[in-house]
Symmetry: D2
Subunit: 352 residues, 4 copies
Amino acid sequence: MKKEVYYSEYLKLESILQAQELESVKNQHPAHDEMLFIVTHQTLELWMKQIHFEIDSILQEFAKPYLPDATLSVIHHRLQRIVEIQKLMTSHFTVLETMTPLDFLDFRDDLIPASGFQSLQFKQLECKLGIYQRHQSSTKAYSQQSLHKEDQSRIDENTMTLFQGVQTWLERNPFLESKEYQFESSYKNALDLMFEKEKTLIQNHPFLDDEQRKKETVNVELMKDKFKDLFESENGDATQGKLSRKALLSALFINLYRDYPMIHTPFQVLRSLIELDQMHVAWKHKHLSMVRKMIGLKMGTGGSSGQKYLSESIEASSIFSDLVSLPSYLVSRQNIPVLPESISKQLGFRWV
Amino acid sequence: MKKEVYYSEYLKLESILQAQELESVKNQHPAHDEMLFIVTHQTLELWMKQIHFEIDSILQEFAKPYLPDATLSVIHHRLQRIVEIQKLMTSHFTVLETMTPLDFLDFRDDLIPASGFQSLQFKQLECKLGIYQRHQSSTKAYSQQSLHKEDQSRIDENTMTLFQGVQTWLERNPFLESKEYQFESSYKNALDLMFEKEKTLIQNHPFLDDEQRKKETVNVELMKDKFKDLFESENGDATQGKLSRKALLSALFINLYRDYPMIHTPFQVLRSLIELDQMHVAWKHKHLSMVRKMIGLKMGTGGSSGQKYLSESIEASSIFSDLVSLPSYLVSRQNIPVLPESISKQLGFRWV
Amino acid sequence: MKKEVYYSEYLKLESILQAQELESVKNQHPAHDEMLFIVTHQTLELWMKQIHFEIDSILQEFAKPYLPDATLSVIHHRLQRIVEIQKLMTSHFTVLETMTPLDFLDFRDDLIPASGFQSLQFKQLECKLGIYQRHQSSTKAYSQQSLHKEDQSRIDENTMTLFQGVQTWLERNPFLESKEYQFESSYKNALDLMFEKEKTLIQNHPFLDDEQRKKETVNVELMKDKFKDLFESENGDATQGKLSRKALLSALFINLYRDYPMIHTPFQVLRSLIELDQMHVAWKHKHLSMVRKMIGLKMGTGGSSGQKYLSESIEASSIFSDLVSLPSYLVSRQNIPVLPESISKQLGFRWV
Amino acid sequence: MKKEVYYSEYLKLESILQAQELESVKNQHPAHDEMLFIVTHQTLELWMKQIHFEIDSILQEFAKPYLPDATLSVIHHRLQRIVEIQKLMTSHFTVLETMTPLDFLDFRDDLIPASGFQSLQFKQLECKLGIYQRHQSSTKAYSQQSLHKEDQSRIDENTMTLFQGVQTWLERNPFLESKEYQFESSYKNALDLMFEKEKTLIQNHPFLDDEQRKKETVNVELMKDKFKDLFESENGDATQGKLSRKALLSALFINLYRDYPMIHTPFQVLRSLIELDQMHVAWKHKHLSMVRKMIGLKMGTGGSSGQKYLSESIEASSIFSDLVSLPSYLVSRQNIPVLPESISKQLGFRWV
């Protein structure tokens, strides 16, 4: 017969609540705040495990050839959960910051050479999101750096990433092209109108002098060029965080026609991905600002000028920068091309 | 030679990250959300361990015969840390609530008869704060309820509580009485004036009819009576959450004369205690509201009508209700009795 | 020609930023914290205006005979916005609480007899949500209380409420009944099975003694009875916050079959309504706890024992208590009755 | 006789609640979300007014020749209030972001050429904090940019700034030097020891190869040089955000000896200043990230490539970067030089 479930056994509290061994105690000069340091990192690692668990389940669905709406809805739900976890993780710093720099110095030397750079789960996570892929040459080293041998082998930079999963799903959009209809050309026209309108705005803007007018006009031309690239580069480039042309067109389509029932959930998924992206960057910002407060310019316990690395890597940490920049290419509602009935009908419910 | 510290070994991640064993998996119908359920409870337990750690260190200081300002300042700092942890714990529900009632039903039956009522650390915590003491007869049962034998013996209702520590510290205030000065009688006069002023306000209030006037006047008399009790009951009553007369007078003194350097830290300590108190109540409220959303009127997995108990116990969960009610007895600044110089001088810095 | 838009004119900052006139200044004893008091209340009033604006737009849609999915989606979006505003409003207290009770006493008497009970927008809001309707006899007085004549006439308790709008929309659900299918009877069977299962759980629960077993069994019977009421009372009772039988069945249907594309948005709307409801209650809780901290047992500036009223009215402030209690009546996924194909097909997209 | 105070008159709600005039309505194509846009900006402006009010009161105290502890304590309290307001202001974006880019496009063109760059209060605030002073040549233009003539004259870059107030206060520290004691030389020795210890850590760090070792050693030398600058530049440079030598030494002293009663409040003031500083930067980050989401690369309504300016100015927005970088120069507790009794005694209370 099955054993009765008991709270503390179910949660394995015995091992969890006894996993706090202070180095400062071992080294015989107990530092009170080391306990907080350990508990904060342990809870953060637990939450990272949960994020891995959710992303794995999402990747599994993205890998399938077909995504029914109910499943997409579950994916959206899980992405939202990840975002909530990210927010929670970010608020951990508020607690950790009740430790002052002097308090930290009480045990900082005891930790050397351990460091947050050795968090396997964090490296695996950035890998799974698709961040490392982006600069494969330069980050190979980083993703391995500071890790013990057996941990190094646990980072597999060749598995499917969230970036790839999303791209593949977007590319499957069947509504971009039909005999009678081409989303691409139809939207290009709308966009050309928008660019013209922007130029007129600039010409008539009362605060701009001639130089600024020129600068802003050049800016519009740059946007046009950038948009062209969207159409001309076929395959995207995961190593640059660049989605394929078809995936981007699909994302644009979803942004514009989100009011159709069938586009509703895809639009929510895109919104969640952007939130997840921004929360990841925000987390790293907040982390850096805490490290700065804590050690100033000193060397990190792991032996590198942690701050410098952190600060440089943050900018490269946006996963879906292409999605984030889409608003540049939105035309206002009244200028969105009307879909042909053959397509608009398919995007609705069977019931009327 | 000392072994090199390695992040994952330091944090004992191996045992922590493998401590998630889903009952639904054991019972061969995997429920995705059980992982979130486990991780949330594990992190909450880790944070409770941290709160215990901080409170233990605080109680140790309160137990000493003398508290230098530097130590009091550390106590304040740690109380603030606890408050931040409580806020963090409360936001855990936002994450847990991404699990819908239907999701929970997928594994609810697997957990029976385990339940949150079996959290030893939570029971120990309420005990240490001084909450159980308050209704010793009725809660004896509760503090033991649902626990395995060996856990029952781990709850010691006779150790020093935060309530007692604070009371003892407050009672030590040496400035309440001297040959020439009696805080009590001096403040009583100020207060009598305030009560008279309140009555005048009521008499002249344009919105009150005769009945309301009578009611509000009775209310003032009640406040007066309540305040009298403060002065007349000598020893307080821990089982009622009632501080001793001297401790309360001391708290009042601190509230009024907080601007003196020497009273600065004590005042901050009192503020933190009230925050801690209110966050504890808020946590239980939030917990109840989550349980309601999750199971409605169904029986809790632990076998009791959880909601009913929770809802009843929340009101009794305020630890420092006496401190919380002090604002009723504050007179406005211009009416605070001036301290005799013999005392006010002592409350300042040596340096001028 | 149209005048150029200028930031400060557009926002009418001149009048807004000069609308802070301190009574304590008029009465010639300036109290620093009165400025914070005024600004906090002014921003709260601005946010209430925004909530009114959103709810009005929602009510307008609910009043129409037909709600296309795109509109429902907009409603969901606006409800979520209201929830975010409610959260923001709740955090205003954190700022206001940087004012201590002594600080408040510096100008409290200057405000008499003004008080928060005179907030017309708040009374109109509770009216619009459907809260006053609920106890029409007793609250008539309250909704008018403390207001000047011209303001009293601005509260119209007869306009459509959010409660009514939601009920009417829910009742329109066309999928509850067809020739071959009756949701009500089909679900009743599933539910009876659940109740039987609950009883078995209780019988076998290892922690329950005979008395508890009896109590919990009675509890199940009560749930059964309550559920019966759902089916037997036809019209609901707005004055009791009770939805009509058909509306509740519809809400249950939506909770169970939310994975169908067509039910997706309705389910999200229900979730948002519950959030809005709980945030409203949470706001009042937080408000009460702040008032307690600030004045203790003293009379409110408006002349009534504010706390007592507040505390009593909070419990009655849940608008959609029927929706909140629905989880009691959810069966687990594997026990949800399968929909006949004639219906399930209609709930999907046209495209496959 | 004084007129009775009435809530809506007291708060001037009539003018405040009627100050929302939608341009899209004037231009006859009502855009629902413009109301949210207006209300958000109006509440933000109200909160800025409150911050001005608090800072003005703080500057007034800093301008006085002597700051008693009670006043310093009030300053600390008001700084904390500002920080809470900043946090609240930052959460306004969460509400504003419920407006999607398409929603914004519905009325974006109506606003041209108005823009947030025209917020007089914001420019005055950055001026008052001491940010513009820093790059006087380059920002002169900016602080005036986009403003109407009469507003331009309202920005006075010559008034006392918070930066100056803090510096003057810090410089007044009387404990840095006496006949028998020199904080500067005493601390320099402690620091040299620390730098040596850092070098040893680097030499023995197991993860560093020779190149990294060299790099990190150079880093220590850089810190030493930087610290020397602290001692050698006498007057600081407000235009570079650089505190004077004496002010910085004083801040260091406060960080090290904060446990002495008399240093307690000064230390809390420094902590609040850093928080205020970081929240200001965080606010601008969050603002930028919202603008990015909303308009992508398009021109801001005010006619400039808003994003570029914003992004560049954020880095220069730290007011107290010198204070923020102090942790680099903290030695651990056991290495802090012991104060001579003549000084340590003065830092305590009169009472023992």
